[in-house]
């Protein structure tokens, strides 16, 4: 299965606040609060609805006007970290 078909979204249990240039996030039964500044905050905002990794890279590169290849690894790394913290999860869409 192509990774294009895998979509990611904020977990239902995640809690966040938008502070303009930064987003702070946590989840119940966790003892940490993380700050997502700059483009990381933009990634978080895009994850409010299901999005594939290529779409995410495309949207963020357009937003910051940089080449997708320049940010793809960073976004993948951030996504892995958010998944590890149970703040983001893979979702299966019914029409996929």
């Amino acid at each position: 299965m192509s990774s294009d078909w895998i979509r990611f979204q904020q977990t239902e249990s995640s809690l966040s606040r938008n502070l303009g240039a930064e987003v702070i996030v946590t989840r119940p039964f966790s003892n940490r609060v993380d700050g997502l500044a700059g483009s990381a905050g933009a990634v978080w905002g895009r994850l409010a609805t299901p999005v594939s990794l290529p779409e995410l890279v495309h949207d963020i590169s357009a937003m910051y006007q940089v080449g997708p290849e320049e940010i793809a690894d960073d976004i993948k790394g951030l996504l892995d970290q958010l998944i590890h913290l149970n703040l983001v999860e893979e979702v299966i869409l019914a029409n996929d």
């Binding site: 977990t11 239902e12 249990s13 995640s14 809690l15 966040s16 606040r17 938008n18 502070l19 303009g20 930064e22 702070i24 946590t26 989840r27 119940p28 039964f29 966790s30 609060v33």
Partner: protein, 373 residues
């Protein structure tokens, strides 16, 4: 419609997004004015609204002041987020313990009627529980690490006469409510109706209960009018925010207000919110603004909203509202002869642990109340 006077700067901040700004190009706030404005913004919990006003160009702050405001908002939102996290955790424990509860104020308002919850900070959690489950809820909070701020004055006081009890922990403060108001209005409001008037909202993966739109507005009015004297700006904003964004069943709103003797409170809340924030009230609120409030109702409201509040006004109003001589006697006994543990806890808060003083205080209130008539 009469024209509204210009609002003060903190009130302009509290009204952001609800009305047109007073000036299209506001003057820069002088640095020397920032400390007092900061005090008002923090005191009235307006950091989120102040930042929104700044982003809209309706509030122009010097760079250093803006940096400080951003830091204050970050602190306020981190606190709110931690409280929400705790709310979801406490929900798990209370639900597992079979305790039904309703989230009041704070998160229930921030997530349902503001465009962004960051506009609506809160400093604690307010949970309403049924009086029949009061003792169990207190016990459960204690097992979760919460400490009751003050012991019960006498056995049964909480459920019979109380409004809320404060529980503290390192995770924040929870005010456990048995009703929505202190004093006489607490006697008249029927908590069972509150539990029949709920809707759910999602937070942190949990499904929580809040008051439905109509009763949420009723509570916002009660809190704005009776919570503080003079009223805080954010609760006044809540009144206008809820009435302009949620679906209010005005007929039911009026019925409950009459049944619970809240008409003077609504008049005060809508009138004060409209006057202070310089925003026209909802058309349906005109009914309360035009009401003629009787002398007795005015006196009861004054017990909350004037300097009589500090002179035992709410206690005396409660005494008058309590039905039957036995209830009145039990209430006075609780105030004048509380348990030693209660007196000691009050002493730890800086008051002298003296039964004589406890008895002298209500006597003094009564003398001054007679003088006021």
């Amino acid at each position: 419609m009469t024209s509204l006077p210009p609002a003060s700067r903190p009130a302009q901040i509290a009204a952001v997004g609800l009305r047109e700004p007073e000036s299209a190009s506001p003057e820069l706030v002088p640095s020397r004015d920032w400390p007092s404005l900061r005090g008002a913004v923090v005191g009235h919990r307006l950091t989120g609204l102040a930042l929104e006003a700044s982003e809209r160009g309706e509030l122009r702050l010097p760079d250093a002041a803006l940096d400080e405001l951003e830091e204050l908002q970050r602190d306020a939102m981190t606190h709110a987020l931690l409280l929400e996290r705790r709310l979801v955790e406490v929900n798990s424990a209370l639900t597992a313990g079979g305790i039904e509860f309703v989230v009041l104020k704070g998160p229930a308002i921030a997530h349902t009627c503001y465009p962004d919850p960051a506009w609506r900070p809160f400093s604690d959690l307010d949970l309403l529980v049924r009086r029949g489950q009061w003792a169990k809820a207190c016990e459960l909070l204690t097992t979760l690490g919460y400490r009751r701020e003050l012991p019960e004055p006498r056995p049964g006081f909480d459920v019979r006469f109380g409004k809320a009890v404060t529980f503290n922990s390192e995770e924040g403060t929870i005010d456990l409510h048995s009703t929505l108001a202190s004093g006489s209005f607490g006697v008249w409001i029927d908590p069972d109706v509150l539990f029949e008037s709920t809707e759910s909202f999602a937070l942190g993966g949990a499904k929580l209960k809040r008051l439905d739109d109509t009763v949420l507005l009723l509570h916002a009015c009660v809190h704005a009018s009776l919570g503080w004297a003079p009223p805080l700006l954010l609760p006044l904003r809540d009144v206008l925010q809820i009435s302009s964004t949620l679906r209010i069943d005005w007929e039911r709103f009026g019925e409950l207000a009459t049944r619970w003797h809240l008409d003077p409170v609504l008049q005060h809340a809508f009138g004060t919110a409209s006057r202070v924030l310089s925003i026209a009230p909802p058309a349906q609120a005109e009914h309360w603004l035009e009401l003629t409030v009787g002398r007795r109702e005015r006196l009861i409201l004054d017990a909350y909203t004037t300097e009589r509040r500090a002179r035992g006004g709410m206690t005396l109003a409660m005494l008058r509202a309590l039905p039957g001589i036995r209830s009145k006697a039990a209430y006075m006994r609780s105030l004048m002869l509380p348990k030693k543990e209660f007196l000691q806890a009050r002493a730890d808060q800086g008051q002298r642990p003296s039964y004589l003083r406890r008895m002298a205080t209500p006597a003094g209130w009564m003398i001054s109340a007679r003088r006021d008539r």
